[in-house]
């Protein structure tokens, strides 16, 4: 029974495969119904993930941005940051709870202030690239073909009608309403396209997992080759 000998988790490499397979099957058991095995792995998963984060996201950050600057480089002003951040920990106290809001206010203010750059970087170049879509052939744009013109006109029409649908502060009536309905239909085309395009990536994930089960665990050659 050479196959069995190779199949069983008798060395570390095989053991790793067996653990991976066990995890996979336990998670897949959720597809049948929620059950004790899934529950066991779910709790283990969350425990492991929570424990893991403490290394790179807790200790590493505190060491790099707080301990090292103070104790090793000697920049003492950093000393105040952690006690200030610790105001957050008053959150569970009824009497002192409001203190944590000072830190929360800092975070909210910072994310609001940062949004100006994000808005500029993320949306203005998009606005600009929308403008580079000429609607007719002219000497100014010699490389343009009629196919591109049609695409450009479509692009602008769809953009404007979807934008119309997403207005809120007035009652959409008459022609505006009709444009908004068209906008919603165009939106559905976009959503359908994204759905169809994502299916492939998700199937590839599952195929990868099943390949792992077949090839790494059961040691069956895939593709009949």
């Amino acid at each position: 029974m050479d196959w069995l000998q190779a199949f069983l988790p008798l060395n570390l490499e095989r053991l790793s495969v067996w653990i991976g397979v066990l995890c996979t099957l336990a998670i897949y058991s959720l597809l049948y119904r929620e059950n004790p095995i899934y529950r066991f792995f779910e709790h283990m998963y969350i425990g492991l993930a929570a424990g893991y984060s403490l290394g790179p996201l807790g200790v590493d950050i505190l060491y790099r941005y707080w301990i090292e600057p103070i104790w090793i480089q000697g920049y003492w002003a950093w000393a105040f940051v952690v006690p200030y951040g610790m105001y957050l920990y008053f959150i569970f106290s009824e009497r002192y709870g409001w203190i944590s809001r000072i830190v929360i206010g800092t975070l909210i203010g910072a994310s609001a202030g940062l949004f100006f750059q994000e808005f500029s970087s993320r949306y203005l170049p998009q606005l600009n690239s929308t403008l580079q879509k000429p609607l007719w052939v002219s000497d100014a744009n010699p490389d343009l073909t009629y196919g591109m013109i049609i695409n450009n006109i479509l692009f602008v029409i769809i953009l404007l009608s979807v934008l119309t649908y997403f207005t809120f502060s007035y009652e959409q009536r008459g022609p505006v309403k009709r444009v908004a309905i068209w906008g919603r239909w165009f939106l559905m085309i976009g959503l359908g396209a994204i759905f169809g395009n994502t299916v492939m990536a998700r199937m590839a994930l599952l195929i990868g997992r099943i390949y792992y089960l077949l090839n790494d665990w059961l040691m069956i050659r895939v593709g009949g080759g």
Partner: protein, 275 residues
């Protein structure tokens, strides 16, 4: 950046002396704790309006810093010829400010982890229903936290990375956690199937449009589509690039503007949202 750090290095007032630096650092940190936490009884004497004023001010100042850094001109060479024309006087402070936010984030992680552990400890101690699973969670948490922290310290060469640590970490992280990630991620393939089967029906104009585009793209992007008709991949790509892109962009514009308005309201504490 180099110039700034040099400047900072020269200003010894911001740096502790090299001699017995560890001792001074410990003292200063202890002092900072006493000072900042000692402020609490003082803050506590404030009436509700004063408390609100403090929160509003802090929010505004934090926002002002990042906003000012972004909006202020960077090119001052007309007045100060030696200035770097790519930054203004606030730019050097951006990285430290980001580090402060990172530190607060790390402390929040502590808070979140505390909440998680407290819930499951209570479950276990009070023997609430299903408390066994809470034990599973706590045990895997403690083991993994120990290994992960040791691993991080080993990366910084503070502790030795022995073969036991390496082996154990690899079993729990690479062989278990990563496998669980992959399994959970691939679950979506099943769900995408059942969702499509259930939702894609010719019920209304909208639902039909959604269904037909999804099917068209689905068949167009796989090799089989090209076998059926060479036009299919072209059409699918055209739908993705020419019909999907403008709809997506319109939504992006709306989201950007909505976010901007929200940011302004939050910055100026104009809405009674979460604080």
């Amino acid at each position: 950046m180099g110039m700034i750090t040099n400047l900072m290095a020269q200003q010894t007032i911001w740096r502790l002396p090299e001699e017995s630096r560890a001792l001074f650092a410990t003292l200063i940190v202890a002092g900072a704790f006493v000072l900042i936490l000692g402020l609490i009884p003082v803050l506590q004497t404030l009436p509700p309006r004063g408390r609100r004023a403090i929160i509003v001010t802090v929010t505004f100042l934090a926002g002002l810093f990042f906003a000012a850094e972004f909006f202020l001109p960077v090119d001052w060479t007309a007045i100060f010829p030696k200035d770097d024309p790519k930054r203004n006087f606030l730019t050097p402070a951006i990285q430290p400010a980001q580090n402060v936010l990172q530190i607060i984030g790390a402390l929040a992680l502590g808070l979140g982890t505390f909440g998680l552990v407290r819930l499951h400890l209570r479950n276990a101690v009070q023997k609430r229903p299903q408390w066994g699973y809470s034990i599973v969670l706590l045990v895997s948490f403690v083991v993994m936290a120990t290994l992960s922290i040791l691993n991080t310290l080993a990366e910084k060469e503070i502790v030795e990375r022995g073969p036991v640590l390496e082996r154990a970490f690899s079993i729990l992280f690479d062989y278990t956690l990563v496998q669980l990630d992959a399994a959970m991620f691939s679950l979506i393939a099943f769900y995408i199937f059942s969702a499509a089967y259930r939702a894609f029906r010719i019920r209304s104009v909208e639902a039909s449009i959604l269904m037909f585009t999804a099917m068209l793209v689905m068949i167009g992007v796989v090799p089989l589509g090209a076998q059926i008709s060479p036009a299919l991949p072209t059409i699918a790509n055209w739908v993705l690039a020419q019909l999907n892109a403008p709809a997506q962009r319109a939504i992006e514009f709306g989201v950007g503007i909505g976010g901007l308005a929200m940011a302004i309201r939050l910055w100026l504490s104009l809405e009674r949202g979460v604080t």
